[in-house]
């Protein structure tokens, strides 16, 4: 039995690559373990927790393109989440009396967020490392402050309320379980495309840029273009997550989009293993699901959370499931051949 499982695993690995098999595996495990709980008990609490974990996996996958693949430290990722959320919120609520279909606004929100990503990218392209982090952090805050202060447009801190629920063939998707499934599908889709992107020509260019920008340029890689592409595609994913978030919540407030969202998303990438798609999933389970699971320990929750972070940084700085390449970068002292 175990032999057969091993054989099956190595066969699958050979055919689809280790990463893909792991991603599918992890998703299946989540599905198998969690779905029955939700299906049979219909516990709103768990639907919420897992739904949120899913949203953070999507955000993690998006930011991972920018930070993990292209190596650009972005601390203002929440801005794109906010842009996606407010795009749907404003175009499908009583705020302006506009009620566009969710399925129409979803791509629009993604597109607007991607555009914002490219617009942010243009001025910050010449910056590297810490400077880039500071400017992006500022950008995230600017968006939140704008949402707070453009009262006529966003209703300020009162937020946008009464946001429409998505409708599919006349059927209103209004319960948590609907969003659970929607998020689950989007996680799979984003994980798939992100994985393809990483192993494409574009992914190669990102690796070269991460390693040495000048040399990448000499190899014929248009570093400007590929960095913008990373910002744009990361932002696009953030926009998708934002639109789903606002449809699910039904109301959004500027405070939903504070700095801690960016930090949480970045932390889950680092804990999971930077640049690794299975890592993002595991990181979200550790940082988003676990604190809710530990809720019964109330005050000790944050203590455990902090302890986990510290232990991780000492024992496994490369994260739970590091990408082979990133592992090399973070454990310089014992280099070993890359085989994937």
């Amino acid at each position: 039995m175990i032999d057969e499982a091993n054989k099956l695993f190595s066969n699958l690995t050979r055919r689809f690559g280790r990463q893909t098999v792991m991603i599918v595996g992890i998703l299946l495990v989540i599905g198998v373990l969690v779905l029955p709980v939700i299906e049979f008990q219909r516990q709103a609490f768990w639907v919420r927790v897992i739904g949120f974990t899913g949203l953070y996996i999507i955000l993690g996958l998006g930011l991972n393109i920018v930070v993990g693949f292209a190596g650009l430290l972005d601390l203002g990722y929440v801005a794109f989440y906010a842009i996606g959320a407010y795009t749907y919120g404003l175009l499908a609520s009583g705020q302006f009396g506009i009620h566009l279909s969710f399925w129409l606004v979803l791509p629009l929100a993604a597109l607007l967020a991607a555009l914002a990503g490219v617009l942010l990218g243009i001025p910050v392209l010449r910056m590297r490392g810490d400077y880039l982090a500071i400017v992006t952090l500022g950008f995230g805050e600017i968006i939140r402050i704008l949402l707070n202060n453009l009262r006529g447009f966003t209703n300020g801190s009162q937020g946008v309320v009464g946001i429409d629920k998505p409708v599919i063939f006349g059927y209103v998707l209004d319960s948590g379980i609907h969003f659970y499934y929607m998020i689950f599908i989007l996680v799979a889709v984003v994980a798939f495309f992100s994985n393809r992107l990483n192993h494409s020509r574009i992914g190669r260019a990102w690796i070269a840029i991460r390693e040495d920008e000048d040399v990448a340029e000499m190899m014929g890689i248009n570093t400007t273009l590929y960095k913008l592409l990373a910002f744009g595609s990361g932002a696009l994913v953030g926009g998708l997550a934002g639109a789903i978030f606002s449809a699910w919540q039904g109301s959004i407030f500027p405070d939903n989009f504070n700095l801690f969202v960016s930090i949480n998303v970045l932390s889950l990438i680092i804990i999971g293993g930077i640049g690794s798609i299975p890592g993002v999933i595991v990181g979200a389970l550790a940082l988003i699901t676990l604190p809710d699971v530990l809720r019964q320990f109330s005050d000790y929750r944050l203590l455990l959370y902090g302890l986990l972070l510290v232990i991780m940084m000492i024992a496994r700085p490369e994260g739970f499931i590091p990408s082979q390449r990133r592992k090399l970068e973070l454990r310089e002292e014992d280099p070993q051949p890359v085989t994937d």
């Binding site: 190669r204 070269a208 040495d212 000048d214 040399v215 340029e217 000499m218 190899m219 014929g220 090399l328």
Partner: protein, 235 residues
């Protein structure tokens, strides 16, 4: 018409006038050496030709075409490839991945080029799966050279290929430079090791504080009193 024609280029780092009107030309099939002391502007000249720095004045023509309007990443498509100073290999990629990265500009099959590079540098074949950062200095130099050749350049710019290498390896590197040249690649070589550089080159330029002070055939330069005193250590 020369393959590469550099005409009176002035390059600045901020307010520092690094190149004060450098002119040089490289004919197809040649090895041309650029020698000079530290800070003479050798690397700056190469970086200006490769588009990583922009001259404020002067022109650079390759195959008769002015390169001024092309960004650095376009030059490899024109047929110029560079082996950067200090090798600049992608240290966390394997040897083979580094070579593949060198062929990024190409969309056709690169299998025969890989074999060609492994033919020139059998050492790289043995280590094709090894991470480049774990190679020795000499091997990294081979890799950087091989990577630059993967784009099938008509002009190869080499920046200090002998830097930091054991003397025994230096000879090997210069042998390969000649070999690559005989296979049809034109080479512009920047070197501090003037002795070796003038042995493989057909012509040479001597650079001093951002200006060309001397240009001649390599043979004449080797016999030149000033060159002997200043760069060859012959009194």
């Amino acid at each position: 018409m020369a393959l590469l024609e550099v005409n009176d280029i002035h390059t600045y780092y901020g307010n520092i006038h690094a190149l004060k009107g450098v002119s040089l030309s490289v004919e197809a099939g040649e090895i041309v050496s650029l020698i000079g002391a530290n800070g003479a502007g050798k690397t700056t000249t190469l970086r200006t030709i490769s588009g990583l720095l922009r001259p404020r004045q002067g022109s650079i023509k390759f195959k008769g075409e002015d390169l001024a309007s092309f960004p650095a990443h376009d030059l490899v498509y024109k047929g110029i490839s560079m082996v950067p100073e200090g090798r600049g290999v992608f240290s966390r990629l394997t040897v083979q991945e580094n070579l593949e990265m060198g062929a990024y500009s190409r969309k056709d099959n690169i299998a025969s080029d890989l074999e060609r590079i492994f033919g020139i540098f059998p050492r790289l074949k043995e280590r094709r799966k090894q991470v480049a950062g774990t190679l020795s200095g000499g091997e990294q130099q081979m890799l950087a050279t091989g990577r630059a050749l993967m784009s099938r350049p008509s002009l190869l710019l080499m920046d200090e290929p002998s830097m930091g290498l054991a003397p025994i390896l230096v000879e090997g590197i210069f042998d390969t430079i000649q070999e690559i040249n005989q296979e049809g690649t034109t080479i512009l070589l920047v070197e501090q090791n003037a002795l070796m550089a003038l042995q493989v080159a057909s012509r040479g330029y001597v650079l001093q504080t951002g200006e060309v002070v001397l240009e001649d055939t390599a043979e004449n330069l080797r016999k030149n009193q000033m060159v002997q005193n200043a760069y060859l250590g012959i009194q």
